[in-house]
């Protein structure tokens, strides 16, 4: 449970050794190289150094990277490769990595092959679309049996024309006649959209005839062919379509044959990423004529490694504790059990480097809260098994997905435990099945209490857990304040409220526990309130002396609403339990006799699946909310920037250093 301690690092080295030094740091993977923007703006620095980096080269490499990405996309889209639900990086030793790196040219060729195939595939698709469009354009003309190349004879002009469907061709013919154009108008076909006709007239009348045709809404058909009858053309396109479909199939099977490229291309992708990063990082460095310099951060624990690595080079380096106004990068280091909960912390914000890492502290609260809200043996075991399966089957071992699965895994156990305590096994499924099909009266007694019957007890337990949770949060705040030397503040902000809250609880409910409870509670409350008013008088000056009164008001309302907020533990617990019971009840209504069993099972499956999904989500977010709003609200500042060590930021493979 801690935030890793960081040291600042400054290095000045020889340009001649730069490449090697960058490679060494990358292999080491523990140094974050900070941006140089601040220094370049400083005039004195700007006089001495200039920014390093070769953006052109980086962008070239990025282009190749995106080509590889595209090739991988082709494999996924057309190669029939299913993307797994979760992915994890393939482990690989350095030796393997180096030997695979030598086949770089092959990978580049594979990328090209796939992209070419994809281009061909796209071209074929375009051709198919065009042919299909032509077939439908020709369709109305199928009965027109004059070859399309005949558009005129010595004297005559032959035109194919489309008109709006309402056109009266006879009237058109008459109009042409009237204007003195002898013509022949033939309707070829007519559908909802258009009227299709062929028109012949003397070449000499062209201008006049066209004018009249235009008045009737004449348009030229969208046929691109100039040879053969429409029927012949359609035939041609149909054979073309068959060929194209076969071609497409062939390309697809060629792509499918290359699915084995996937691993190679993934490796190539990572190889290129590493190489790009080696250049990209130079953008964070600064050069003089013969030397270069950069600043960075590294975890104190890796000091020896960093020293050993830098010793090999002709360079000057110094490291120091971070100063007051440094923004220190943050990385959390929790024990194995608590590590996955960093996912929950990260969802809110990383702590800043000067505060306490809350992860391990809220872990048990999170798990218990989730369990209380999702309390069911059946649901819990399913959640446990499903997440365990996901971890094992997809070989997850790092990253956010892995952490989330582990968190849910814990929560599954906790839900099952609370299920036993509350006597919920898919709600009251066992009782219902017993009654429905075996005529037996099976009742599984809860180990502790039945939330439906003893809801008041559970409400009190929920709020009590809330008080404990809040007290822990205030404890952390007090610890931080005392560490910063503000003992009086710690007492005023936290310990006084311990006394007041406990006092009020004893005063109001203490009688049930011990006879002297209310009296003790009353005095604790009075002492607490008095302290809350008096302490600020010593702490502040002027008007600030009266702040105690305001503190009492905001403290009472704040604490009250925060504590009552934990009633959601009861609320969501009741919701998931009662929905499960309602599902069982509905199933029992339909489930009679032979076919009834099938219906019964169907309703049960559907209902419980729905309830599981809704309440797993609900429990997850509400348990998180209690951490973020109520718990974090007591002490947490957050806003830490994640530590991003310069290293091999790979996507598909992970290089294991030998001997580590």
């Amino acid at each position: 449970m801690a935030i890793v301690k960081m040291n600042k690092l400054s290095v000045i080295g020889m340009i001649s050794e730069k490449e090697d030094l960058i490679k060494t740091l990358m292999d080491l993977g523990v140094v974050e190289i900070s941006s140089n923007a601040g220094k370049l703006q400083d005039e004195e620095w700007a006089k001495l150094v200039e920014k390093d980096g070769d953006e052109e080269r980086v962008s070239l490499m990025e282009k190749e990277l995106s080509r590889v990405d595209n090739a991988l996309g082709v494999l996924q889209k057309h190669g029939g490769l299913k993307a797994p639900l979760f992915t994890s990086r393939r482990p690989m030793t350095r030796k393997e990595f180096n030997s695979l790196s030598r086949k770089e040219k092959t990978y580049a060729k594979q990328t090209q092959e796939l992209l070419d195939l994809n281009d061909k595939f796209n071209a074929a698709t375009v051709d198919i679309n065009q042919a299909t469009a032509q077939i439908s354009a020709l369709e109305p003309w199928l009965t027109y049996d004059v070859p399309l190349e005949i558009v005129s004879t010595d004297e005559l002009r032959v035109r194919l024309a489309e008109f709006p469907p309402v056109v009266d061709l006879e009237a058109l013919s008459d109009a042409l006649e009237e204007a003195g154009c002898t013509s022949l108008v033939n309707e070829v076909s007519r559908d909802k959209l258009m009227c299709y006709a062929s028109i012949a007239y003397f070449k000499a009348d062209e201008e006049k005839a066209l004018e009249i045709l235009k008045e009737s809404g004449f348009t030229v058909p969208g046929i691109v062919d100039t040879k053969g009858t429409p029927a012949e053309c359609t035939e041609k396109y149909k054979t073309m379509l068959v060929d194209l479909a076969a071609k497409k199939e062939d390309i697809l099977s060629q792509i499918k044959e290359r699915t084995s490229y996937k691993e190679d291309l993934e490796f190539y992708h990572d190889l290129l990423t590493i190489r790009r990063d080696e250049y990209k990082i130079r953008g964070n460095m600064m050069n003089t004529e013969k030397t270069f310099t950069f600043d960075g951060w590294f975890p104190v624990a890796t000091l020896d490694l960093v020293r050993k690595a830098l010793k090999k080079f002709t360079c000057v380096y110094e490291y120091s504790e971070p100063s007051e106004d440094d923004e220190i990068p943050v990385i959390l280091n929790d024990r194995r059990f608590f590590e996955p909960m960093q996912f929950i912390t990260g969802l809110y914000s990383l702590p800043n480097a000067r505060e306490v890492d809350p992860t391990a502290i809220f872990t048990m609260f999170y798990i218990v809260f989730f369990g209380m809200m999702f309390a069911d043996v059946g649901y819990g075991l399913i959640l446990f098994a499903a997440t365990l399966f996901a971890i094992k089957h997809y070989k997850l071992y790092e990253g956010a997905t892995y952490q989330l699965m582990r968190v849910l895994n814990y929560c599954g156990i906790s839900s099952a435990v609370f299920g036993v305590l509350f006597g919920s096994y898919f709600g009251d499924l066992i009782t219902v099945v017993g009654k429905q099909f075996f005529d037996a009266d099976i009742v599984i007694k809860p180990l502790w209490l039945n939330p439906t019957e003893s809801s008041m007890t559970l409400l009190i337990v929920s709020c009590a857990l809330g008080v404990l949770h809040l007290f822990v949060g205030m404890g952390i705040k007090a610890y931080e304040q005392i560490k910063a030397g503000d003992v009086l503040g710690a007492v005023n902000d936290n310990f006084v409220w311990y006394v007041i809250v406990l006092g009020l609880v004893l005063w109001l409910f203490g009688a049930k526990v011990v006879p002297w409870g209310p009296v003790a509670g009353k005095w604790m409350t009075i002492v607490g309130f008095a302290a809350a008013i008096i302490i600020p008088i010593f702490m502040n000056k002027g008007v600030g002396k009266a702040i105690g009164l305001w503190n009492i008001y905001s403290g009472v309302t704040g604490n009250l609403s925060d504590i009552l907020s934990y009633s959601r533990l009861l609320g969501l617990g009741l919701a998931s339990a009662s929905i499960a019971q309602v599902v069982n009840f509905l199933a029992s209504l339909v489930g009679h006799g032979g076919a009834g069993i099938i219906l019964f099972i169907l309703v049960e499956l559907l209902g419980h699946a729905l309830n599981f999904a809704i309440n797993a989500l609900g429990s997850f977010v509400h348990s998180a909310r209690l951490q973020y709003v109520e718990f974090f609200g007591r002490f947490f500042e957050g806003g830490g920037e994640a530590f991003k060590p310069f290293g091999k930021d790979t996507k598909y493979v992970r290089i294991i250093e030998e001997g580590k």
């Binding site: 969802l347 439906t452 609320g571 009662s578 309602v582 209504l589 809704i614 998180a624 709003v629």
Partner: protein, 156 residues
């Protein structure tokens, strides 16, 4: 059937009306989701989770409704005799979730819709978007608890 039973049925009906809020809320969020899915880079799963959030009010309402119906024997078994007072009390038990559910569902739908906009514009903000929307749900949960405690306290 006595007037008491009729009143209790009325209570169950009001509780079930929490679904109005959920329906509107899920609809509002769904529209926003459609909007952002037109662009690229937003995962279907994240928008779906946000869209589902305002759905809980309707479920709380349904649970209370079915529990009232079971208690008075409208569901499974013959209706029992209820006094007018008992019926009115059960009607009252249906009110909190029925009323709060409608408005909190709509409000949560709006918060979820804004959250969908957020996740479509910035990666890794799903957690925060969910939390914002879930803040609204608190009040539906409180109403549900009160409805439940009232229901639980009424003996028939």
């Amino acid at each position: 059937m006595t007037i008491g039973v009729a009143l209790a049925v009325f209570g169950a009906a009001i509780a079930a009306c929490a679904g109005v809020g959920s329906g509107l809320g899920v609809g509002i969020a769904g529209e926003a989701a459609d909007g952002v899915m037109a662009g690229e880079g937003t995962s279907f799963g994240s928008t779906l989770v946000l869209q589902a959030l305002p759905g809980t009010q309707g479920i709380y309402g349904m649970v209370i409704a079915i529990m009232i119906m079971t208690k008075i024997g409208v569901l499974g078994g013959g209706a029992i005799d209820l006094s007018v007072a008992q019926g009115l009390a059960l009607l009252g038990a249906g009110l909190p979730i029925g009323i709060v559910g409608v408005w909190s569902g709509i409000a949560q739908g709006k918060a979820a819709a804004a959250g969908i906009q957020l996740v479509s514009k910035k990666d890794g903000k799903l957690g925060q978007a969910i939390i914002y929307a879930v803040m609204v749900e608190t009040y539906a949960i409180l109403a549900f608890i009160i409805s439940f405690l009232l229901y639980n306290g009424i003996t028939v």
